[in-house]
């Protein structure tokens, strides 16, 4: 038989993404769970807020929150909860297992990442006595120029810099 692939979108009125895909594993209820969506939004928003901080520990907490937000998003994606996936229960009644498998993987990965970031911030604290994320090297160089010469328009007198002596020394070379 001829094998034709639907490379172009099918003609006709568009229904909904889920129905168009016509996948039986997805529940017939198309409305996502509003509560979970709000939780996702709050988690990601708080995460972004923390991510913008200079302290690495706060950045770490931010990534943690964003990661959890994304995990909850996968729950939303999985559709409404169904029966546990045991043998004997009809496949249509069972919760969609695939997003759960994916979210488990994502959780494991984020656990490892957080562990690594914690070690990193501890080492940063060991080395510099602070866990603040250092200035950008280029920015530090500009600021140094401003220090030596007249202050540029973007340079604020008395603003504290977290550039370490090491970095400045390196810029000299």
């Amino acid at each position: 038989m001829g094998l034709t692939l639907p490379l172009a979108p099918p003609a006709g009125p568009f229904e909904s993404p889920l129905r168009a895909a016509g996948d039986p594993t997805i529940s017939s209820s198309l409305a996502p769970n509003a509560v979970l969506l709000v939780v996702v939004a709050v988690l990601v928003a708080s995460g972004v807020f923390l991510l913008l901080d200079r302290s690495l520990v706060r950045v770490l907490l931010g990534t943690l929150l964003i990661g959890n937000g994304v995990s909850v998003l996968f729950l939303v994606v999985g559709g409404p909860a169904g029966e546990p996936p045991f043998a004997g229960i009809p496949a249509t009644d069972v919760s969609d297992p695939l997003p759960q498998a994916m979210v488990l993987t994502a959780i494991v990965i984020s656990l490892a990442t957080i562990g690594f970031l914690l070690a990193l911030s501890y080492r940063l604290w060991q080395l510099s006595g602070t866990d603040n994320v250092p200035d950008d090297i280029e920015d530090a160089r500009l600021q140094e120029l401003a220090d030596l010469d007249e202050p540029s328009s973007t340079f604020a007198e008395g603003e504290e810099s977290t550039t370490t002596a090491d970095e400045l020394a390196e810029d000299h070379t």
Partner: protein
């Protein structure tokens, strides 16, 4: 070979390095066994990849369902022409760089702890890269990315010196963000289509509302754009790469950004053939090209210059992807192969320069041409190749892309052709500046200002025989301590201090194996030009497959579409 047997080879590029990583971790007390294992594993990887290239070219995409679980539950590994080629190139690069780092380890007589985790991590990196190239579904692609990113976090912060921790922080946080975006993209894709298998998605995504498709596409492209260092998302790269040990930087520069480019090629051709983002991608390509190279021109350290050229030349590949024509894709694929080899070669050379002269700062380097003619020839060849001087592969790759751009024939594609030529010239300018300062300029101009500058610095001027206090941090050579500052840098070895005060003539000799590995990498760049005809034909066939899509889809899902949906 029978088809079944060939398909069984498909998971090997992931399995071999993973097993090798476990083995090297088990024999961590014996550096010699570690070196032997890693070399054997990566050699095996290259052989398997070469077989896959031949077979994928002959039979079309090779598919393996892991654990024989078929769709819709199974996880597929797919080696089509593009994947196989990427596997082969990455395997060769990883092997050559491994030889380089082993030679460096021998020279420095490394038996400390950091070296023992280097081999397992390096092999895990290889597994991650292979997994990303072979992944037949979006989530497995994500897992591949995570594996290689994790290995790269460790490699980048190896030794845990202040510089590397600083660089590592930026890198880790940026990578985490891009991973989160990628996950959101996967979740949205799954919500819209109910699958993450790429072939399955290729069929289903056609039925979606164009607006939803656009959101999915933007989400995935942004995530890959961060990994590939496309312009507005590229600021992390020049800050994080140069601080790592030389072999690590070389492998990162060669491979990691290209995995992002590969992912972009894959999703753009397979999932979004009706892409409406030509304009956006072309603008991104143009800005990446021009702004990246302007960054390179303004830098004064060899490694940072190279990092900026790396960012800039990503624009060429994005150019090919943005055109979304068979010729554009073929040009991009050829350019990826060229760029992986040449960028790795250049970073290895930078590593040798740093080892030889004790610094990569252009203000302090001089007279290298007289001091080490061989190194100079290597740098000159590689630099000319990157800038696109005919008849080398850089020239051929750019010509292929420009032809595709001219065929496309819109004002923006012409602008990109012009931008590409300007970038090529500016690359030549930036590298010629390196050549003039570091290699060609006679030596005696330097010491006075140089030493004065050091004395006025916060640290003291290098003293002969200052003990290698930071020896533990010198993981893969002396570059770790060199970045600590002028005074501390001299602490690594007496030879370095000599190099500072008396010039390259008395600095330590370059180990022949390291030179040979670097020369091999440079030579691979030249060989690409020699075999450009067959390679371009291969890239063309790969690109045609990508644009037609059905070779990939039918080999993964050999069922008629009615049953499949």
């Amino acid at each position: 070979m029978t088809p079944g047997l060939v398909s069984d080879l498909v998971p090997l590029p992931v399995l071999l390095p993973l097993l090798g990583a476990a083995l090297t971790l088990a024999v961590r007390r014996s550096p010699r066994l570690q070196r032997l294992t890693s070399t054997a594993v990566l050699t095996g990887l290259v052989v398997v990849a070469a077989v896959l290239v031949v077979e994928a070219d002959r039979r079309g995409p090779l598919v393996l369902w892991v654990g024989a679980w078929k769709e819709p539950l199974g996880i597929s590994l797919v080696a089509d022409r593009l994947s196989a080629l990427m596997l082969l190139v990455s395997g060769v690069v990883m092997l050559v760089v491994l030889v380089f780092s082993i030679a460096q380890g021998y020279e420095d007589d490394e038996t400390d702890t950091p070296m023992t985790i280097f081999h397992p991590t390096y092999l895990v990196l290889a597994a991650g890269v292979s997994n990303a190239f072979l992944a037949g579904d979006l989530f497995n692609l994500f897992v591949g990315f995570e594996i290689l990113l994790f290995a790269s976090y460790v490699l980048l912060t190896l030794g845990g010196t202040s510089e590397r921790i600083h660089a590592g922080t930026t890198y880790v946080v940026v990578s985490l963000l891009s991973s989160a975006l990628f996950l959101i993209g996967i979740a949205a894709t799954y919500a819209a289509t109910g699958t993450v298998n790429l072939a399955h998605l290729a069929i289903r995504i056609g039925g979606l509302d164009p607006g939803i498709v656009l959101v999915l596409q933007l989400c995935l492209l942004t995530a890959f754009g961060i990994k590939a260092a496309v312009f507005p998302l590229s600021a992390w790269l020049p800050d994080s790469y140069p601080t790592a040990p030389a072999p690590v930087t070389a492998v990162f520069a060669g491979l990691l950004t290209k995995v992002g480019i590969y992912a972009m090629i894959r999703v753009q051709t397979l999932l979004f053939p009706q892409s409406t983002l030509h304009g956006l991608l072309m603008w991104a390509a143009l800005l990446t090209l021009v702004i990246g190279i302007l960054g390179a021109v303004s830098q004064s350290g060899l490694k940072r210059i190279l990092s900026f050229t790396l960012v800039s030349h990503i624009g060429y590949m994005l150019f090919g992807i943005a055109l979304a024509t068979a010729h554009g894709m073929a040009g991009a694929i050829f350019y990826v192969v060229h760029h992986i080899t040449i960028q790795t070669a250049l970073f290895l050379i930078a590593g040798l320069v740093e080892r030889f002269a004790g610094t990569t700062s252009l203000d302090r380097l001089a007279g290298l041409a007289a001091a080490s003619p061989l190194l100079s020839i290597l740098f000159f060849t590689a630099a000319m190749n990157l800038s696109g001087i005919p008849p080398m592969s850089g020239f051929l790759g750019k010509i292929g892309l420009f032809q595709a751009g001219v065929e496309f024939d819109t004002p923006l594609s012409w602008a990109l052709v012009v931008g590409g030529i300007v970038t090529s010239l500016l690359t030549l300018y930036a590298l010629a500046k390196v050549w003039n300062q570091a290699f060609w300029r006679p030596f005696p101009e330097i010491p006075d200002t140089d030493l004065a500058g050091q004395a006025s610095g916060p640290a003291e001027a290098p003293v002969l025989g200052e003990a290698p206090v930071l020896g533990d941090d010198a993981v893969l050579g002396d570059d770790a301590v060199l970045l600590e500052g002028p005074g501390a840098g001299a602490g690594s070895t007496t030879a370095t201090a000599l190099a500072r005060t008396q010039g390259p003539s008395t600095s330590r000799a370059l180990p022949p194996v390291m030179l040979a590995a670097t020369a091999a990498m440079t030579a691979v760049g030249l060989v690409i030009a020699l075999v450009a005809g067959p390679l371009f034909a291969y890239a063309q066939r790969a690109a045609t497959d990508l644009m037609r899509r059905d070779p990939y889809i039918t080999s993964v899902l050999p069922l008629p579409p009615g049953v499949r949906q």
